[in-house]
């Protein structure tokens, strides 16, 4: 299955590389436009010197972790975005069901946007700069935690994109509301969760666990404590939370597909 995945993704990348100039422009474009988000954030935090007691560099850790994950998720799962929506509108999802592969796998491999790495690269730069500035002490455990956190974040954002796509089975169009959780979530968790009221905090920690991705990990790296008592060690639970959330999204997808097979488009 992995080799088939790589083959299909390879084909996607080759076809994008037919337009090299456009590829590089878009890559840089994504890096710049998401970089602007950080500039806006920096101006805001700079004006007030800190947000909820977090310095700009500390916010940079939160921002970096979320951006890297979000960029990676967009890269691998944008097949669930516009291409899938188009598929629903044109009725070509039928074709997916006539291939001897799972529909989830086929949609996932229908698109691979390498250019989304622009966001991740930019996030990584902010993260590395912030870490240097803060002179974070890297223990082995912390080094192991980083890829786990990034992967968990990627999986949570992927699940959100899948959920948005699944709604298409009922509405044909992906509702804009899902962007509140993807783009909105990415922006929201760039600030420490402690500054939000209980409802928003709880939603982004426990319902749509975008905040679970970076907040506890940042607490742990920065050796801070959460005013509401969320332990920094929760960072180690992120992979579990992400897995559960992704499984829920996968289940929802199955419900969507069975709705399609019983009613058509």
């Amino acid at each position: 299955m992995l080799s088939l995945y790589l083959r299909l993704i390879g084909a996607r990348i080759r076809s994008q590389m037919q337009y090299k100039l456009s590829f590089w422009l878009e890559l840089v474009g994504f890096a710049l436009s998401s970089g602007l988000e950080f500039v806006a954030l920096a101006i805001l935090v700079g004006t007030f010197h800190s947000v909820g007691g977090w310095s700009l560099a500390e916010v940079g850790v939160l921002y970096g972790l979320s951006s890297i994950s979000f960029g990676l998720a967009e890269m691998v799962s944008r097949g669930f975005d516009a291409p899938f929506e188009l598929m629903m509108q044109r009725g070509s999802f039928d074709g997916v069901l006539t291939r001897p592969l799972g529909s989830f796998f086929q949609i996932m491999t229908s698109e691979f946007q390498l250019r989304r790495l622009g966001r991740s690269t930019q996030g990584a730069l902010v993260f590395l700069y912030a870490c240097r500035h803060l002179a974070i002490h890297w223990t082995l455990a912390r080094l192991i935690l980083m890829p786990l956190t990034l992967l968990s974040g990627m999986v949570v954002y992927m699940a959100l994109i899948v959920i948005g796509a699944t709604i298409c089975f009922w509405t044909i169009k992906t509702p804009e509301v899902i962007n509140i959780f993807t783009f909105g979530g990415d922006t929201l968790v760039s600030y420490p969760l402690s500054i939000y009221n209980g409802l928003i905090r709880n939603i982004f920690l426990w319902v749509v666990p975008v905040g679970f991705v970076n907040y506890p990990a940042a607490l742990l790296l920065l050796q801070r404590s959460d005013p509401y008592g969320l332990p920094a060690t929760a960072a180690w639970a992120a992979p579990l939370v992400a897995t559960v959330f992704f499984a829920a999204a996968g289940l929802f997808w199955r419900v969507g597909v069975s709705k399609y097979t019983s009613t058509g488009s």
Binding site: R7, S15, Q18, L97, T98, G264
Partner: protein, 329 residues
Amino acid sequence: MTLIEVEHLRKTFLLAVRQTGRFASLRGLLSRQTRPVHAVSDVSFTVAAGELVGYIGPNGAGKSTTMKMLTGILHPTSGRIKIAGRVPYQERVEHVRRIGVVFGQRSQLWWDLPTIESFALLRHIYRIPLARWQANLQSFSTLLDLEPFLNTPVRQLSLGQRMRADLAAALLHDPAILFLDEPTIGLDVVARERIREFLEHINRENGVTIMLTTHDLADIERLCPRVVLIDHGGVVYDGPLATLRTRFGRWRTLIVDLNQSVDHVEVPDAELLRVEGTRVALRFDRDRTTAAALIAAVAARYPIRDLTVEEPEIESIIRDLYEQPGSLA
């Protein structure tokens, strides 16, 4: 050997009823009133291995819905389907591995990749042994003349080329059955003929069982020894095309161009359809009179400049059939 068994197949969709009156769209969001629509109400037939069957019927008769159930896309509301020993909607992946599907309106190929790359990806998706794949590709390239555009991205292909590529793609994995939905739609005469020749060949030489829907009577005449005709979600005829035609296609239309325009034409045994200046269309029942007798009768009264006799189209045969439901007995 029976390959396809369909028994009392039924598919009912629930359509949302559009609300009317005040705040209609708002109320529509809250209450979901639905109305059942029987796309397929009772369809039964069997297809033996090696057959080439035309599945025809007017628009909205339930053709596509049946095809979607046979290919595992839709789950039936009730009834039974068994294809090569499998129930399509229960074992979708295993089922589609053994069939080929072509939708005339939509390509199944990778839009922005060269055609040959689509074929290569299909080899991996269907896990076709390399030698088998090469042999098939070689054979289809010759039969369908794919060579000139194997390296062209699919989006740049003409409709005819694209259809040929899609046909080859659907057959690379040696499916036992090929399902085709409108394989010649939108194609010119030459392209249609080429596709028909190909289908005939793979049916006869490779033993691929074919089931196809079409609006083109010529496809049916050329290819299908047997037709299954459905209307209003049920089978109204199942048998050879020749019988269908002689039994139900009795109506012919005689079109004559007269030397001068007329208001009305009166000829025995014929019904006046329309008068457009000097052109007159007359409908007659082939069982009651012959074209020759009718022409003679018209010529006796009016000077004729030119004439044609139109055969009934499949659509009108179907319409006639529907208007005389008892005529099947």
